[in-house]
Structure formats: C-alpha cells, structure tokens
Symmetry: C3
Subunit: 484 residues, 3 copies
C-alpha cells in the first residue's frame, strides 16, 4: 500500500531535471546582456587607464602608490576564498562534490559581472560622462557581493537546479547592491568585512529561500546526506583557505595604512580564538568526547564573520579574542541544537548550517561593531585618526561616535529585513515548477546534472548493498502488486 502511495506521489510531482534548454538559454541571454551593458556603461578608472602616467606626474606620485599595489594581494586572497573556499567547503557531501564546486564556480562567475554593474551604478558612476569607472576596489567589492549569494547557496545545497541558482544569484546581487547602498551610503554605517552587509544579509536570504522551498519528504534522500572520509578532507581545503585568508577579506577595502593593518591583526586573532572554543564545545557535546568534522569545518570560521564590522576599529587584541571566543561557542552549539530545531519546528532545511556560520555570527558582528563605534573617542583614535577611521567627512562631518553606533545598529536591521524579505520573494519565484529542480528522493546527488565517471568507488559497499536490496524490494513489490 505504501508502495502505491509513493508511486502516486511520484506521479503528482513529475520532476524533470533536464536543463538542456533552460540552462544554456539563461547563460547565453544573461552573458549577452552583460556584454551590452558593459559596452554601454563600463570603463577603466584613472588608475587602470593609460592616462595614469599623467595623473601620477601631476600629483607627484610613485607607480607603487597606484591603488593596485595596496589591494591586489588582498584581492587575490578574497578571490581564493570565493572560488576555492566556498566551493570546497561545500564538497563535504558524499555525492555532491561536482555540484558544490561546479555550481559555485558558475554562479560566482556570473554574479561578479552583475555585481560590477549594480555596485558601479551606486558607487562608481562618473556623472560627467555617465560611465562606471572600475579599478581593483570594484573587483574586490564584486567578489564580496558574490559571497552573499554563495552563502545563500549553502542553505539550499543539493536541493536546487543550476537554473534556480542563477535566478537566486541575479536577484541576490540586485538586493545586495541596494541594501549595501542604503547601509553604507545613506545610513553611513561602516562595514569593512561585511558582517551585516554580506553575512547577515546572505544568511537570512538563504534561510528564507530554504524555508519557501521546504521539502517535507527530504528524508527520501537521507542516504546521500552525509559525508565520506575523503569528502570531509576535501571540505577541509575550503575551510582552511577561508580561515587563512579571512584577514585579507576583512582588510581588503579598509583604509590604506593602519586601517588595513589593524583589520588584518584583529581578524587573525579572532579566528585563532574561535578554533579553540569550537574544539572544546564539539568535544564536550559529543559521546566519548570525539570531535565532529562539521563543527571543525564550519564553526572555526565564525570569528572571522563576527569581527567583520569592527575589524578596522580599535577593537583591541583582547577584544578580538573575546569575540572569537564567544562565536566558537555559539556557532558550535547552533550546529548541535539549533539546526535540528529549525528543521523540525521552523521547516527550514539548512544543508550547510549557514545560520550558525553566517547569520548568527553576522548579527553578533553588527552588534560588536555598533558597540565599538559608539565607544570610540579621540583619546584612543587621535583627532585625525577618528575622522579617517569613521569617515566623518562631507555631509557626515558633524557625526559623533555615539550617534555612529546608532547608525550601525540601524544597518543591522536593514540587512535582516532585506535578507528575509528578499528571500521570501525570490523563494516564491523559485517554487514555480519550471526550473528543473530534483525530486525529493534525488537530492544531494550529482547524477541529475552531471555526467559522472563510471565508477562505483565513492559509494560505500554498505550502500551498494542497500541499493541492491532496495531494487530487489521494488521488484518484489512490483511482483506482489501484479498479484493483487
């Protein structure tokens, strides 16, 4: 009887994962759109333009003072985080490594083009000729913008089609650029490492989408919802490159000189502290004190998220350690208690646990940033230092630290609202039955979207046996159905 019912259910939801028309169409149309828009709007800025030599001589600068040399090493580190970091972090599933690293690659490569345009219109538009002028800082910001969407991918990993991911990215980048403009330019909050702008927004955006795409029968794919030994080692490549290069992430677009220097130091310290408390909690809450790879792969990074906003401020070395200390505990406890709770009671299936790694630490980061900003004083920063660090110039020349703290807090709210609101809308769109997403018993599997090598290697023998048995059951149940 269960068999008949599940058969009927299967008929009701005739999932077709063939994306042979939709995926190429989306890729081609959007890439051609990018070319046209870049042709109309995009030009080099004065530091990446051959006229630089004139500019340089007029301002008595050395070639080494081109912004390229201030930011390029950090840019490359951020680039590694986006493509290898995020990509490999998600390879932990036993049969979804191609999708993890491949789709991450696809949506990041698309997203950064759209981000250059969206952010360019808001921040780099030259009103004299109506063109966006780009340089190395725009590339970094585009990578940052993409990070928001890759975080969201973590929540829906294995449950969506590449076409859905492209749609998620298109809207995600758009929302990100608007939200970022509001937070950084209108509200004048500071957020160098993007605790609010990137992690809080990206986290809630992904969770809201995952909530909209809730699959009550996802346990039909439970056989594939775990790791194997080597897929966990692959995931550690992602973890470590994220962990190591996070100081570059948080310092990439901070002020030249002491700003970049201090942001790197604070992030380095916060991350070190997080590792110890993550290990402690992981061991404490596990039978026999054994460590859980999920915690080591993810929660060790929470400290980097949480110093994102305050990294450029005078957080002080011990302050960074404290932030990391708390985040390691909270993030690991999140994996132990919160993720199962959210799946069971809130109907949010969060494959990678982005709530514990990005959303919560992002919120903490916003709060830490607000407090640190509110506590700033000329005695600590110096007169010029305070103006420089908080950019109290132009229309914000009369800003004071306490008020800045309030603006920081307002930024958090905007990020949360955009994340949840945007995610619900985009989630609605993604529920349309046209995107080629996999059936409930076909999730976490590369098979629908990838040509797989003809090997059985990575399927553990015990599963092969189970598959064999299941097939046998099917044959037998078919047989018994015929007899009815």
């Amino acid at each position: 009887m269960g068999c008949v019912q599940s058969f009927r259910e299967l008929c009701d939801r005739p999932k077709n994962t063939n994306v042979r028309i939709s995926l190429p169409a989306v890729c081609f149309v959007w890439q051609i759109a990018m070319i046209i828009l870049f042709g109309v709007f995009m030009r080099y800025d004065e530091e990446s333009n051959p006229h630089w030599i004139e500019h340089r001589k007029a301002n008595n600068l050395s070639d080494i003072e081109n912004d390229f040399y201030f930011r390029y090493p950090s840019f490359q580190d951020v680039h590694v985080m986006i493509f290898v970091g995020f990509g490999f972090l998600m390879t932990f599933l036993k049969r979804y490594s191609f999708g993890a690293v491949g789709f991450n690659f696809l949506i990041a490569a698309f997203g950064l083009q759209w981000a250059l345009l969206m952010q360019g219109w808001f921040h780099s538009l030259d009103y004299t000729d109506g063109k966006i002028k780009i340089g190395i800082e725009n590339l970094i910001n585009a990578d940052f913008c993409v990070a928001g969407c890759l975080i969201a991918y973590g929540a829906v990993l294995g449950k969506v089609s590449p076409v859905q991911l492209m749609v998620l990215t298109l809207f995600g980048i758009t929302l990100f650029a608007v939200e970022e403009y509001i937070i950084l330019s209108l509200i004048h909050a500071r957020d160098a490492g993007g605790s609010m702008v990137i992690h809080t927004f990206g986290g809630y955006y992904g969770l809201a989408i995952s909530w909209m795409l809730y699959r009550p029968n996802l346990d039909q794919s439970s056989r594939l919802q775990g790791s194997v030994y080597h897929s966990d080692v692959f995931a550690m490549i992602g973890t470590l490159f994220l962990w190591m290069f996070w100081p570059s992430f948080n310092s990439a677009i901070t002020d030249h000189g002491d700003g970049q220097h201090r942001a790197a130091i604070n992030t380095y310290l916060a991350l070190a502290s997080t590792v110890l408390t993550t290990v402690a909690i992981s061991s404490l809450f596990q039978k026999h004190g054994k460590l859980d790879m999920v915690h080591i792969q993810n929660s060790t990074l929470a400290g980097g998220v949480a110093v994102g906003t305050a990294a450029e401020f005078m957080l002080m070395p011990y302050g960074s350690l404290i932030v990391g200390f708390c985040c390691g505990i909270i993030s690991t406890l999140g994996y132990v208690y919160l993720t199962p709770f959210m799946e069971k009671y809130l109907k949010i299936q969060d494959t990678c646990g982005i709530h514990n790694l990005h959303a919560m630490p992002g919120l903490i980061g916003g709060i830490v940033g607000a407090i640190t900003a509110a506590a700033a004083s000329e005695s600590v920063y110096g007169h010029e230092g305070l103006i420089n660090t908080f950019d109290f110039e132009g229309e914000f020349a009369k800003m004071v630290p306490t008020k800045q703290g309030g603006h920081q807090a307002a930024g958090i709210c905007v990020a949360v609202c955009f994340g949840i609101g945007g995610g619900i809308i985009v989630g609605c769109i993604l529920r349309l039955p046209i995107w080629g997403d996999p059936a409930d018993d076909n999730c976490f599997d590369d098979e629908p979207y990838w040509e797989l090598p003809e090997d059985e290697e990575s399927i553990p023998p015990i599963l092969q046996y189970n598959n064999h048995m299941r097939n046998k059951d099917v044959v037998e149940s078919n047989f018994s159905m015929e007899q009815h």
Copy 2:
C-alpha cells in the same frame, strides 16, 4: 589465434619501463651542469644586491620601490599556477595522479633553472662583465617559460616516461627562449600574458610531439583513460587555482602602475565570461543537458589564454567579455568535435585536450592582440600612455599602431612555426627506443614509475572484476594453447 598474435606483438616491442639508470643519470648530469653554468654566468641584479642601498639613495627611491614589491605577489600566484594549477589539472585520470603532479613538479623544477639561463643570455646579460643579472622578473619569466613545456606535457600525459619529459623540457625551454627573443625583441611584438609566446607555442609543440609519438593501439589502455569521482574533484583544485590566478599571470610582467592594473581587470572579466558559455555549450551538447567535467575543468580557462596578449592594451571591459564569450564556445566545441576528429583522422592523441585549451585560444589571443594594437590611438591612450604601453622607444620610436598590428601578426606565425617545427624534431628524438616509455597497454598508469600503496581502493569494483576475468582468460587461453 588473437592471443598468439598479441603475444608476438608484445615481443616485437619489448618496452622496458625501468628508468633506474637513465632517470638518475639525467637528473644528476643536468643538475651539475646547471650548477656550473650558474657559477659562471649568474649573479644578482642591482635590486637584489646589497648595493641596492647605494642605488636607492642615489636615485632618491624608497625601499618599497624595489621591483620586488611590484611583482612578488604576482610571482607567487604564477608559481602556484605552475605547480598546483598545471599539476592538479592533470590529476583527473583515475590512476595517473602521481605522475601528473609528480612529473609536473620534476620538469618544472628543472625547466626553470634552464630557463633562467636561456632567457638570461637573451635578455639580462650585462655586457660589462658577461654575467646574467637576475631579479624577481627573471623568476616570473622562468616560470612562464616552464608553462610552455607543461602545456606540451598535457598532450602526452600518461604515454611517456619521466626521462622523455626531461628531454621534452630541455629542448622546449631552448626553443621557447629563441622564439621569445625573436617575437619580443626582434619583431617587437607585445605579449604580456604569452598568448602567442607561451600558449600557441606550447600547444603546437605538444601536439606535434604527440603526433610523432602516435600509438595506434592506445585503446589497449582505455580502461585507465577516464576519471573517477574523486580524481575529478582533485582536478578542480588545479582548474580553480589556474582560473583565480590568471589575472596575476597576465599582469605579472606588464608595466608598473596602470599596465598591471588593467591587465588584471581584463583577465578577470574574460575568465568570468568564459565560464558561462562553457557551461551553456557543455549542457547543450550533452544528452539530458548534463554537464561534462572535462569541459568545466578546461574550457573555463580559455578566456584567460585568449586575453593574454591584449590584456595590457585598451581592450575595454566589454571587449574582454566578448573574447571570453567566444573562447568558451570554441573551446568546448573543440572538446566535443575536434579532439575525437584529431585522434581519428590526424593521428594526434591529445590526452588533456591542449588544442582546445591552449593552442586555439592562444591563436585567438594573438589575433585579438594584433587587432587591438592596430586600433590603438593617442586619443584613447594619451601621448605618453601610447609610448609606454607599446614601448615605442629606442629603435622603435617611430613605430605606429597599425604597423605594430602587423608585427603582432608576424609574432603569431613565428610561434606556430617554432611549435610545430620544434615538436616534430623533438618528437623524432623521443621515438628512439631508449627512453623507457610504457607499452600501449600500460599507459595512463602510475604503476611503471611509482611505488604504489598496497590498496585497491581507487580501482572501481567493476574493473577489479574485469581484471580478474582477464587473468582468468589468460590462464584459460594459455591452457588452450598448451592443448594445441
């Protein structure tokens, strides 16, 4: 009867893969030769010499204006591309990962020493004392030179012995240095990212060698000529590090300031565009729209190759996107149609498909470079900018952009001729039966040259069964032979 015949064939070609004498001999003799030649010729240049402090003070420079700080971050990125990028890109074969990453390591480490000498004689010889003076730029150029040989390795991957690879590298570096001198110094073509000098040359060099070493019975090794799940994930490590660091590759030796800045931006954009069209074509030409890992691993990189020459020019952001757009399509179609065609009709067995990843995109890059150079104007570049970018100085002070375009085109021809011509000659040498190459049924296998761990893990069960059956067949056929 087939058995007898194949036995006879085996006797005819008594392949001995024992390189216990030849490999150590080649390594020792060549390394000692390097030491002697370095002792005679190689010295530090003025920026890596303790006299730098005097030079610095005399020219009123800061320590940070030492060329080291302009180029070292890019150098390290290029270094990663050479050793991890090329090495891991080739690990996709199920049982040739040791050879891919290990022999890549060996020939790169030898090649860069020989390249420092060859390129030094042509470009960095100090005529006052007859010494080559090296600095960071020489190290980058040596890595570039090695890249040409590693590309060639891609064509013959799995079918040659390490001794053959050392010979391929020795001659490859030599040819490269001569070809580069002709193209860059005599013809005065510009080729910052080496579309012509590195990729076109390296591609045709490898293809010509592979053509000379054609193995009609290579299908005897077909059981090993594919990937397994995890070997494809390893290969993605190579792909991503190549993809991410290609902006550094193309900008590593361009002009200080805007030159490096612009080259990085153009490459970043071209690569992003390539990913989308590669995915589109891969999905479109596959049954059920499934993506093929071979395309994702390789064709996504074609855009970086194809902007190599023009990256430092005013290609414009949309120009970079267009180049990447076309290359993704052409390269992926190359894998679908051209590689099988070349193997069947042209007798060129191209293991990694370097024709699609390097040779064709390299040609395109040369053409794009010629067009962009010919279209250059003072209105776009500015007076000084034009001179700087195209180096219209010294004996080339009267050069004009249109003429430069012609010189660029001449450069392409030289690269192709050196590649094919050199490859045929070196291929002849490599056909001598003294190099210890594997038999036709022993290709794509680490077993002949590596101590392997005693595990059966990576051989899929289905193959183990086949091996078992084959052994049984041999026993039975032996038995039937005895009965005759």
Copy 3:
C-alpha cells in the same frame, strides 16, 4: 596462550582515549588565560594604530611605506604553509587525515596566540608603558614559532592525543621563544628563515619527545601505518604549498628591499635543485627505479630548510643550487637508511621522518650560514650593505664577519641543546598516564578522537577481509577459552 597474554597486556595498560573532559578543559582554560594576558599586555604598534597618520606625516612617508605592504603578501604565504602546508603534508596516512589536518589546525591556532605573548615579551615590549606592541611582523614571527611545534608533531603523528599536543605546543612555544632570544638577541646570530631557530630546534624537540614516548609494540598498528592512493595525492597539496611558498617563508622578515628580494631568489633556486636530486636518489635506491612518494613529498623541501639562514646573505645563485643539490641527496638517503636505523637501534619512531626533512637540513643550513657569514666582505656587500645585512649596529657595531661566523656556529649548538633537552623534559611530562593517548594497536587511527562518517570506502577491501577474519578469530578464541 598468546591470546591470554595479549589480553593481560591490554589490562595492564588500560588506555582511555576519552578526552571529553580534558580537551575542553584545556581549550577553555588556556583560551581564557590568553584573553586575560592579551588584555593586560597586548596593544597595536604605531603602524597599525590610528595615530599612524600623524606618524606618517611627521616622517614624510607614504601610506604604502607602512610595514604592512612590505610583509603582508609574505605573511599570507607563510600562513598557508602553516595551516595547509603542514596540515596536508601529514594527511598521507590512510586513516589519519582528520587528525593530521585537524589537530594541526588546533595547535597552530593556540600556539600563535601564546607565541605572540612570549616573543612579544622578549622582542616587542615597550618599556614606557609595559605593553607589547604588535604589527604584521609579530604575526609572521608567531607563525614561525608555531612551525617549530608542528615539525615536532610530525615525529609523533598518530601516536598522541590532542591534549598531549596542546601540552607539547605550550612548552614548545615557550622553549622556542627563549632559544630564539638567546640565538638572535644575545648571541646575535642571523637566522632569517629559521634553519637553526625553527627547523633544528623543532626537529630535535620532536625526536626527543618521540624517543621518550617509544612504543615497542607499535607494529600492532602497522595495518594503518601506510598510505592509500588518494591520501598520497592529498599529501602532495601540502608538499606543493610548502615548496612554492618557501621563498616567502625565508624572505618574510628579512630586510626591506634587497634583503627580501635576495632571500626569495636563493630559496627558489635551492628548492628547484633539491627536486632533481631527490628524484634521482629515490629512483636509484628503489627496485626497478620506481619513485617513492614519501621522498617526493618530503625530501624535495629539504633545500628550503637548508638555505634558511643564508638566504639573505650573498650565497650566490650557484651556492643556492649546491645547497639544494646536497640536501636532496642527504634527505632522501635519510629516508632510505636512517629512519629505519633510528627506529630499530635508537628507539626513535619518527612518523613523518622529520629528522630527514627538518633536523638534518636545519643543521646543514646553520653550517652554510656560518660559512657564508664568515666569508662576507665589504668588497661583495659594500660598506653599508654589510652593516645592513648583518645588522652590525648598536652594541655589535664592531663585529666583523669572521667573528659573526663563530656566533652563527654557537647558535646551532643552542638550538640543538634546547631541542633535545626540552624534548626530554616535555617527553617525561607526556608519559604521565593522564593524557588520553591511544593504545599501541590503535595508533594512526582517527577513530578514537573523531566522529567518522559511516563509510568503508577508504579501507581497502583486503583490510576489510582481514578485519573480518580477525573478528572471527576473536570469537573463536573466546569460544576456545570458554572451553578451557
């Protein structure tokens, strides 16, 4: 009877690997201690402080002359070496990859905090306010300090508990900081790349601990003391990132300008040379001339260790090649002959062969440094260059090169003494039966300390069969015991 005896033996040594109390306790207590000590002592230095802008203007500096831009790219490379390099190099064991990369992560993250304090007290204490002032150079030095302990971890890999590793690190960092202060500040030896300070000390520290923790029955774990195909490929990730970034390691804290430039060139050359002689010796001493992955993974790095001290001196390019040439031979021969000898006769079980990769090449590096220093002259370095390179300033203004050579030699002795002496003491502490280390038949296994995925994938079928048989034997012997 053997069964009864082994049973009794098991009772005598009731190893309990449950670290559920001890590991969290150590992590929490030590991390809280770090926070308190950082709160009391640690502040930003003048280049990472908002007052930098005043300092900069007063000294007429550009932002780009902040030490951050001189050293940050090198710092990130060193950071990758510590976490990915050392971590993945040790993943070669078939079932200890989690422990290799995970415990490496844990102790490095703890060690760098303690190192910042220890080294800060010795080198960066501001006597005006009693605070340690940190900047980017301190972060690099902390990473260096951690490297010493990670080297020691290589000797005891798979045989200790994470709690023991934390203790090993706590004492290791402390000893390192004292030893470094004596060698660099009191003796005034130069050791930019740490041949003596890091590698000699770390090597002998680890070997002495391993000697103290000698396990006569370690062969009970011999089934797990090897690699599988893919674990060897993972280890190559570690090897290559160490190899590629070693020029950054040796140049990270050398003098601005020519010092960093020359150190990078020398290291690059030495490493290239080492690869060729390692391959030669590996092939020569193996049956059929096959290469051994253990040699390729480890001995290729020996050249980088051995130019550590002399990299910033005028070693000359050919000198670097010669050092690399010798170290490749010595290190590989060490793996072939010395490691088995040491295990059999000296009772030193050296899992990763750190004697061949760090201790011996470190000694060679110290000697090369002493000779190169003693041979220095004003004709080669120039007057100012000599003073700069050897830091003949302040109380050492009257130092001469020959005497400096003697001081270098004294430095080697201090490093060896601290390594062996410290290792014996710490080894004694680690022998206490309270640390949760694994039983002799449970070594090289992730099972005691990690939640493992429920797959049998990475255990080769032949072992599965053996396990099955062993279990059967146990059942049968239990049965026969009952019958007695």
